[in-house]
Each structure stands twice: as C-alpha cells, then as structure tokens.
C-alpha cells in the first residue's frame, strides 16, 4: 500500500489522543498517584484534543474531494469509516465539556466531572476500535484482515497516552511512580502485541496468482501488465519493502517506539531530570509513527497478483 502521511497521522495522533483521554479518566477515577490536579487534567485534555484534531484534520488531506466529507457520517450502519467519523465527532462535546467543567469548578474528580471524563474516554476507545476495523474488515489485504489490527491500535494508543501522561506528571514535578509503571506495562504489552502481529503475518497464506486467474493447476506468470506507465492501481497498491530492509526498519522501530521510551521513563523517575520524559514522548510518537508507516507499506493488496506477484 501507498503509505499516505495523512492516514498515518490520522491513526497515530488520534489513537494517542484518545489514549490520553481514556487514561486521564481512569487515573482520576481511581486517583492513581493521587489523581491529576485541575491544571494537569486540563493540560491532558487539551493535549488529547490537539492530538485528535491533528489526526482528523490530516485525514481530510487524504480526500480527493473534501467538499463531500460531510457525507461520510451518513453510512454508519454499514461502513466502519463512517462509524469512526461519527464517534470522533461525538468525542469533542464530551471532552470540551470536561475541560470547561474542570476550568470553572476545578472538579476533576467529582461526579459530573468523572461522568464527562469517562464518557469522553469511552467514546475515544470506541473510535480506536472503529479505526482498527476500517483495516481489519478488508479481505483483500491479508496483513490487515486480522483481529490483531484493532488490538494493536488499542494498545499502541494507550501506550502513547500513558507515556505522555507519565511524562507530563514528571515534567510538572508531581509524583508519578504508578503512572510510570502503567506506561512501562503498556509499552511492553504494545511491543509484545506487535511481535505477535509480525509473527502472524510473516507467512503468506492469502490468494495466489493461480486463484486470481483461475488456473489453479498451472504455474502462472505475468507477461505484460498492459500499460506503458503506472496506473492508479500500481501507485496505490504497488509499494513493497524488501525483507532485509523491513527487518532493519522494524529493529529501529522497536528501539524508538519501545526501548528508548521505557529506558527514558525509568531514568527520568530515578534521576528526576526533566529531559528524559521529553525524550520518552518524542521517541514513542516517532517510533509508533514508523510502526504505522510499516503497517501500510507491508500491506499487500491482492490486485498485485494481477501485476505479477505470485502470492500476497
């Protein structure tokens, strides 16, 4: 698949943003590390809104005809993309209401505040699920057609959110041992989930050039693609990544997305240095951005079989 930056940013930033909101609600529900004070809560909610908005705005850049974008909310009965849009928009009033409530009443942990926070967090989590299902329902791309995709989106979004919240607490000089623990746990879980995903997609088991052409008992080779230059199909679906290159990029991704944030959070909480939480946040966002890029480049659409690939 063509790794469009717009879609990478959409899933990366909105996933992280919803992760921040969901964890903010949980932290204030159970007063983890004493809960977030009003200022910390407001910063967290604003960060969440900014992240989600970056994602949503960049997704419109992916549209070739954005003047019809409003129609994308109409087919929520059948389309996961429409459902994602509906829930993403529904998220805003609740997140804003919580922000305004905290601003005027400083009530981060009273009943009204918590109801708003939990509703916003829940809608965010539903949106992540819809986002994952956009890809997971496509039978044409076996690397995506697995329940591991929404599961990965969840754990990655929560890992980004937890890292950002732990870093925010550390930077603001508040105690954050449990928050760092949550972030470490989610980062490790995300690394393991991604490992399971890579194991799952490593062996080809999808349609072949034989089933694509119907000549099931013969070897089939492409002689001519039938066009002199690229087409929409080759531009959109033709991207591939050599195995050796994919392996080195995955190694780099694991370093940035998981190893550096884990190390930086641990060193940060032990030394109290301000620079380490910043390193953790920048590294996790960059690393999971690379992960999302790989997610798109590695996806092999079955149309490639008609352009000469033997198996997808």
């Amino acid at each position: 698949m063509h790794p469009a930056l717009a879609v990478i940013f959409l899933t990366l930033f909105s996933g992280g943003g919803f992760g921040i909101m969901a964890l903010t609600a949980i932290i204030n529900d159970f007063q983890i590390d004493g809960g977030l004070n009003p200022l910390q809560t407001m910063i967290a909610v604003i960060l969440s809104l900014v992240f989600v908005s970056i994602g949503m705005l960049s997704s419109t850049a992916h549209l070739a005809n954005p003047k019809n974008a409003w129609r994308a909310f109409t087919r929520w009965r059948t389309s996961w993309l429409a459902r994602e849009g509906v829930f993403a928009v529904l998220y805003y009033p609740f997140a804003f209401a919580y922000l305004i409530w905290v601003f005027f009443t400083a009530g981060t942990q009273d009943t009204v505040g918590l109801i708003l926070a939990n509703l916003a967090g829940l809608i965010g989590l539903i949106t992540i699920f819809c986002q994952g299902m956009i890809y997971a329902v496509l039978r044409t791309i076996r690397q995506w057609n697995t329940a591991l995709v929404p599961a990965n989106f969840y754990v990655m979004g929560l890992a980004i959110g937890a890292t950002i919240l732990a870093a925010e607490r550390m930077i603001m000089g508040a105690p954050a041992p449990t928050l760092v623990g949550i972030a470490l746990g989610l980062l490790v879980a995300a690394a393991v989930m991604k490992g399971i995903y890579y194991f799952w997609i490593s062996r080809p088991n999808g349609p072949t050039i034989r089933t694509a052409t119907g000549f099931n008992r013969f070897t089939v080779r492409i002689l001519e693609q039938g066009h002199t230059f690229g087409t929409f199909l080759t531009e959109e679906f033709g991207h591939t990544l050599p195995n050796s290159k994919a392996r080195s990029i995955k190694f780099m991704m694991y370093i940035f997305a998981f190893a550096i944030p884990v190390a930086a959070l641990i060193i940060g909480i032990l030394t109290g240095q301000m620079v380490f939480p910043w390193i953790a946040v920048i590294s996790v966002v960059f690393g999971i951005g690379v992960e999302r890029w790989l997610f798109f480049v590695e996806a092999q659409h079955v149309i490639n079989l008609y352009h000469g690939r033997q198996q997808c």
Partner: protein, 230 residues
C-alpha cells in the same frame, strides 16, 4: 436480474479493443470524463474501466499465453459498497450493477482498497472514484437499435470473446456458456461472488510440428520453394 459479462479466455486475442472502446464511450458517458494524465508525454497514465493483462500459463513446452481482460465484476457481495462511508457507491437492486454517484463521492479511496479486482480508479482531476458502469447509458437507451443495447466492450470485441447478459436467468446465453464451458469466478476464496465469469481455454490437441516435415507434400513444397525464385 443480475447483469454481467462472460469473458472467453479461449478466443480473447489481447488486442485491447474492448478497453479502447470502453474509454471512448465512457469518456463522454455518465461518469465522464475519464481523465488522462500526461497522455503524450513520457509517463502516460489515466483512468480506465477495463484493463487487459497477459499471462503465461504452464511451463514450456506445455505453455500458453492467456489474455486477461478485467473490469468491474458487479459482485453480489460488493464490499466496495459496504465500506463506502458517504453512500456514493451503490448496487442497483433491479439489475445488480454497481455504480458510483459522482455527486456524493469524497475520494477517500476506501472502496478501491476493498475491491480485489482493481475495478475502481480515482480520477485525480474530479477527485472522485470511477468504475465500469456496464455501459448503463447504452443498455437501457431506447433510442438505439435493440442489438446495440450492449456494453461498448462487448459490441467492439472482434473475437467475440465477450458476452453480456443476465446471469440470473439459467437459460440466457451467458448462463448456458458458463454451464457448458465450465465458467468460473476469480478469487472465489474471498467470497465476493462476482457476477462476471471467465470461460477457460478449450483443450486442443497439440498441432504436430515434427511429423509434418516427413510428409511428401511438405517435401514437394520445399523443393518447389527452392526452385521457384521470388
């Protein structure tokens, strides 16, 4: 009714006339234009509803070239319609034709991701998704003679490798052809249940090239050829 095409891989000669006729008709049809990018330059590209690929089947000396035209299969389980968030993509209940409402499409490409057969192509200029309409503006046009109420690709095919008809009717010529010739669907394992069917090449006895040389007529011919100057 379930309108669609049946493509005979035995007789298709791979001339691309169907693709050209399709482009010619549809560039002024209901989803017109079919934009070209850089048509006379170094990197010609553009929107086509119909593309022909060429495959080699089997290994030498038991190999064969098969020309493979592909357009929208007007699937029964048209995932492209299911995933469309705007409702621009739809499948007509009365005849099963899958269409894109150009006024509703927002150009998100999602339907093209859901299509296994590469039937949908984004027009960069209009920003909308375009696809085979089964020449809906021909097949229902009461102004033209009845025998011409067929898709442009079917009418133009010089090898009669393309048939158009109702695949729901078991006695229609297309259904008979599928039944008699062992017509099949592409990538059935994805369960899109495409309407278009492909007829496999017929099994022919190989033409004996070695033995021909031993025949007397052939020898006389060679002798005459040697004697007669051109």
């Amino acid at each position: 009714m379930r309108l669609g095409l049946v493509i005979d891989l035995d007789t298709c000669v791979g001339c691309h006339a169907c693709a050209v006729a399709c482009k010619e008709w549809n560039t002024s049809g209901t989803t017109a234009p079919l934009t070209d990018y850089d048509p006379y330059g170094a990197k010609p590209s553009g929107v086509w509803f119909n593309r022909i690929r060429h495959f080699e089947i089997g290994d030498y000396p038991y190999n064969k070239t098969v020309n493979f035209p592909m357009s929208c299969m007007h699937c029964e389980n048209a995932e492209c319609v299911t995933v469309c968030p705007t409702g621009a993509s739809y499948k007509r209940a009365e005849d099963g034709i899958v269409l894109v409402d150009q006024n509703k499409c927002m150009g998100c490409n999602y339907c093209s991701w859901a299509c296994p057969y590469g039937a949908r192509e984004l027009d960069r200029v209009s920003g909308t998704m375009k696809k085979c309409t089964l020449c809906i503006d021909r097949i229902y046009d009461m102004e033209i003679p009845e025998e011409e109420r067929q898709p442009a690709c079917v009418l133009t095919c010089p090898a009669h490798a393309r048939m158009y008809g109702d695949l729901d009717d078991p006695e229609s010529p297309v259904s008979r052809a599928v039944r008699d010739r062992g017509g099949y669907q592409l990538m059935p394992e994805l369960n899109y249940n495409p309407t278009n069917h492909y007829l496999p090449p017929r099994v022919h006895a190989p033409i004996p090239t070695e033995e021909l040389k031993k025949k007397a007529v052939r020898k006389v011919k060679e002798w005459v050829n040697r004697v007669v100057e051109r």
